[in-house]
Symmetry: C2
Subunit: 228 residues, 2 copies
């Protein structure tokens, strides 16, 4: 059980082992309460205070775990970019929600924890940058307008809302998971596309409904394969 002491100059390798141990604990226990300094150290085969050789406190360890998760999310986005922009954004969005639902504990500590250190961490900025890229690409085709960062934040909000609500309140009357993902992605996309085009003061409800009906009917006439 006891880990063999690292050789000189290789002390930093314990840091990685601690992080891996922490991720394993999270994944296995399914609760962040299982993420104890004592448990992490024990799993790494090391005494508890040894954690403090590489992390200032527990918060620093958790934040390091979060950076790893941000890295995974960023990689996920990068792999889904490319090709026709509108479907690419759809793929990114779907991948995001699926990641969140497949790794609920990691996602929870990532997003639902009061960020102690101020400023956007680099790994998070990179992941967010990829999402901004996806949105920017959509703008070049003309289907979405506005400030890319702002639109990306709005889309992120929608995705995060769906994912985190499903994770935190599983007992709500959720519809089928894939259907909901589909719905959220399309609602966010359509809404964003329309937002910048509509005037600030809208016509009364009946008028509005009629216009939406007209657009729907018109679009139903032509068919294609671009499905965000």
């Amino acid at each position: 059980m006891r880990r063999v002491r690292a050789r000189r100059g290789e002390g930093a390798q314990l840091r990685e082992e601690l992080l891996s141990a922490a991720e394993e604990l999270l994944a296995e226990a399914g609760t962040e309460e299982a993420l104890t300094l004592r448990a992490v150290a024990a799993r790494a085969g090391v005494s508890t205070p040894a954690v403090y050789l590489h992390f200032a406190d527990k918060e620093a360890l958790v934040e390091a775990v979060c950076m790893r998760v941000w890295g995974e999310l960023g990689r996920l986005f990068r792999d889904n970019l490319g090709g026709d922009p509108w479907p690419a954004m759809g793929r990114c969005a779907r991948a995001y929600i699926r990641f969140a639902l497949d790794h609920p504990v990691q996602y929870r500590v990532l997003m639902m924890r009061p960020s102690a250190s101020p400023g956007v961490p680099p790994a998070a900025a990179e992941a967010f940058g990829h999402m901004v890229d996806a949105v920017s690409a959509c703008m070049e085709t003309g289907v979405v307008e506005g400030d890319p960062a702002e639109v990306a934040l709005g889309l992120w909000s929608a995705l995060h809302g769906c994912a985190s609500l499903m994770i935190a309140q599983p007992s709500f009357p959720w519809p089928d998971r894939e259907a909901l993902i589909d719905r959220v992605v399309r609602v966010a996309g359509f809404g964003t596309a329309l937002y910048s085009r509509l005037p600030r003061d809208l016509p009364p409800s009946e008028e509005l409904a009629a216009r939406f009906d007209a657009l729907g009917a018109e679009l139903a006439a032509g068919e294609g394969q671009s499905s965000p």
Copy 2:
């Protein structure tokens, strides 16, 4: 400091005092870590294990606090219902986000905590029911279609995503708060209105952009006062 012992048959009044103490602690400290059984008991002028006379464990106390918050949210919805449905839904949505941002700690323990007990708590169901009502009213005017509960869940997801992201990740490049609220509410509304009207397979991006442009131009011609 010491609370006078309750008279016979009025032991339940300590329960309310404990809940109030817990809410005060949460609001004053601004961190859920301040919600300690010892601190709650001390503020209520009572010894720590006295909490166990009314709550099975700490989790039960926290859940009871959540029920109070759900109640406030439900009341907020109820007060904003009525009148023209589309603007009413907008008011509800704005009130929701403002409540979340004005009570970040309470909102965090409400929504970002793994719900221990299974099933939807009654207070939550009531609050959600009000939102379903708002959506249903919008459907009767014809501006939104689909299953009311499902649409309400989608709207809730959007609101929650915006609120919780702003709370949990304040260091992101957020735009002006009111502008963002406005954006999210309208995006969710427009997106939902369009979702059920558009075919599953969409035309290519340029075609899509042209149609959206046309709708925007057409709506810009008429002006009204209905602004969700």
